[in-house]
């Protein structure tokens, strides 16, 4: 309850007035490329992010997500393709664009020498916000991320979750039109993750445009209205989490484990049940719209798996189908 009250105190306009026409996306990338020497991190991607949506880049480590985010954040110049952010050119108008972005980097870059509250007031000054406004804004944001009680502590003793929340608060200090979040909950414990998700969900509800990268499918499902699946610098698929699952997976999945060593010998025996089979090192995934029916068919063939689990398909399955690999290894 306390949470909700503190949220109401924050004065975010529900509808953002933007100086770009409503039709133009806030972020528009076409054939976007990023090369580091011989290595191509981003190999020509097309992305449109519209006002008010929560957009995600889902992919494993090294997929090119962070490079894309750095280009959108105007701290890394594209090597090819076009990129427009808030109707401006990131190379020429970097400062003007950054003035309206909030960035939460993958690695916290908080200032260890000063207090929690000063981290926000000092940062606000970089945006040219007056001292008085900065103080007011800092207090509101500390309330929002539930760090008011730690306002005068140094950063160092804070837990990982608190540091991440402070970084998020810092990203909001200029009341940004777009908030960029690079792996917002990587390295946090489950409880801390949920707290961060809750805050981000509140922002989303208030109409703030969120762009995030993640290699957690649950995070993508929780937060994203629309996402792209990235692998090896390319986009494999695009849509809402539900659309992607419908398109690239069946409604349900049966996970089968067998106690004897040679899993692949079962592939032939399972042939024909469900729509598709995937072999993982420790289990076989059997894709079927009706999981229970599929399990019955397995038993009919006199196969005795050591464990059987029927579950709904997730983005993990989408990713597996698209790339043949799992997201988190």
């Amino acid at each position: 309850m306390v949470l909700r009250k503190s949220l109401a105190d924050l004065s975010y306009p529900r509808v953002r007035v933007l100086d770009v026409s409503a039709a133009e996306p806030l972020i528009a990338a076409h054939g976007l490329v990023k090369r580091f020497g011989d290595f191509t991190a981003v190999a020509g991607i097309d992305v449109d992010v519209r006002a008010g949506e929560a957009f995600g880049f889902l992919g494993p480590n090294g997929a090119g997500k962070s490079s894309t985010m750095r280009m959108i954040g105007c701290v890394s110049a594209p090597s090819g393709g076009t990129l427009r952010i808030l109707g401006m050119d990131p190379v020429r108008d970097g400062p003007a664009i950054r003035a309206r972005l909030g960035v939460c980097p993958q690695q916290d870059s908080l200032d260890q020498d000063i207090t929690v509250r000063e981290n926000l007031t000092v940062y606000a000054r970089y945006f040219g916000i007056s001292r008085r406004q900065a103080r007011q804004r800092a207090d509101e944001l500390l309330e929002f991320v539930q760090l008011t009680e730690r306002a005068n502590d140094k950063v160092e003793p804070l837990s990982g979750g608190m540091k991440r929340r402070l970084t998020i608060a810092r990203a909001l200090v200029n009341d940004p039109a777009i908030v960029l979040l690079d792996e917002p909950t990587t390295g946090l414990d489950p409880q801390a993750r949920h707290l961060v998700w809750e805050r981000l969900f509140q922002l989303k509800q208030r109409g703030v445009t969120l762009v995030l990268t993640t290699h957690y499918m649950d995070e993508a499902e929780q937060l994203c209205d629309r996402l792209v699946v990235m692998d090896g610098g390319r986009i494999g698929a695009e849509g809402s989490p539900r659309q992607l699952i419908e398109r690239y997976a069946t409604r349900e999945v049966v996970e089968l484990r067998f106690s004897d060593a040679t899993l692949d010998s079962y592939l032939g025996k399972l042939e024909g049940i469900g729509e598709r089979l995937e072999l993982l090192p420790d289990r076989i995934l059997l894709y079927a719209d009706d999981g229970d029916l599929a399990v019955a068919a397995v038993h009919e063939r006199q196969l005795r798996p050591s464990s059987v689990l029927v579950r709904r398909s997730t983005l993990e399955d989408v990713f597996l189908h698209l790339t043949g690999r799992t997201l988190v290894d």
Partner: protein
């Protein structure tokens, strides 16, 4: 045309300055904390201790000190302006090499700053302004001490103060440029040796004219020598056209350093 462009340019310059000032402001905020405050205050004592030890202690062993031009002055009055220049150098280098490197590589402070409208040049400028603020506080205190010890007059101390800022600027700009080339903390061992060699051999404890000829030539190329000569001329009240030459050298040195620093920073930070 001019009436249209000028206000725009002025507004842009003001914005730049404000953003650089925000970077300086961060350091002022940090300086208010207890641990840092101690470090700041203790920084003042080092040149004072050198003045007392070498200037007064060793000075007592030097019965009469005659400058190459024939004037006889107390040895402490000879050493004091050199300590003033060295203190401006040390203060500026401490902030712009070690602290700057630590903030950039170790604390990753600027990664956060670059996500804002602040540009690399403005970060460099802001850090340099802080180094000058810190250095100037030391200079004011040290000049006060010199006046109290009768090593210069209050009037000349006032004239010397802006000159200490120029010395700080020269080393601050160069220090920042060097910091962008530093690979790890170990490299500071090399910087420290160079800094210490400058401290010892810039006409600091004995007139540069008493060095062997080759060394005299080398020393005249280094920046601290010009800082020492400029401040010694001002605090002992001996003016000459040479002082303008020293000033010009220091300003050129500062500009080159700052130009290299902001270019290198853009390369390092905008990957």
């Amino acid at each position: 045309m001019v009436t249209l462009v000028l206000p725009r340019l002025a507004a842009r310059a003001e914005q730049r300055f404000q953003r650089a000032a925000a970077v300086t402001g961060r350091n002022v905020t940090a300086a208010r904390h207890f641990g840092y405050w101690w470090v700041l205050v203790s920084g003042f004592f080092e040149p004072v201790l050198y003045l007392l030890s070498i200037g007064v202690g060793v000075g007592a062993l030097i019965k009469s000190f005659t400058l190459p031009d024939g004037r006889v002055i107390p040895y402490a009055a000879f050493v004091a302006p050199a300590m003033l220049a060295a203190s401006a150098m040390n203060g500026a280098l401490a902030e712009t090499t070690m602290n700057f490197f630590g903030k950039m590589k170790y604390l990753r402070l600027y990664d956060g700053v670059l996500a804002t409208p602040v540009k690399p040049f403005e970060i460099a400028l802001g850090e340099l302004m802080w180094a000058l603020v810190r250095g100037s506080i030391y200079s004011v205190a040290f000049l006060g001490l010199m006046v109290a010890m009768g090593l210069t007059s209050a009037g000349w101390a006032l004239v010397a103060l802006p000159a200490t800022v120029i010395v700080g600027l020269a080393f601050g700009g160069m220090g920042m440029a060097i910091a962008t080339y530093v690979r790890s903390w170990q490299d500071f061992d090399y910087i420290m040796v160079v800094q210490f060699a400058l401290f010892l051999f810039s006409g600091t404890f004995a007139p540069a004219g008493s060095y062997p000829l080759v060394m005299q030539i080398v020393v005249q190329l280094t920046p601290l020598y010009h800082g020492v000569e400029l401040l010694r001329g001002l605090t002992t009240g001996v003016l000459g056209w040479g002082l303008l030459g020293h000033t010009a050298y220091l300003i050129a040195f500062a500009s080159i350093g700052l130009a290299i620093a902001s270019r290198r920073m853009a390369v390092l930070l905008y990957k």
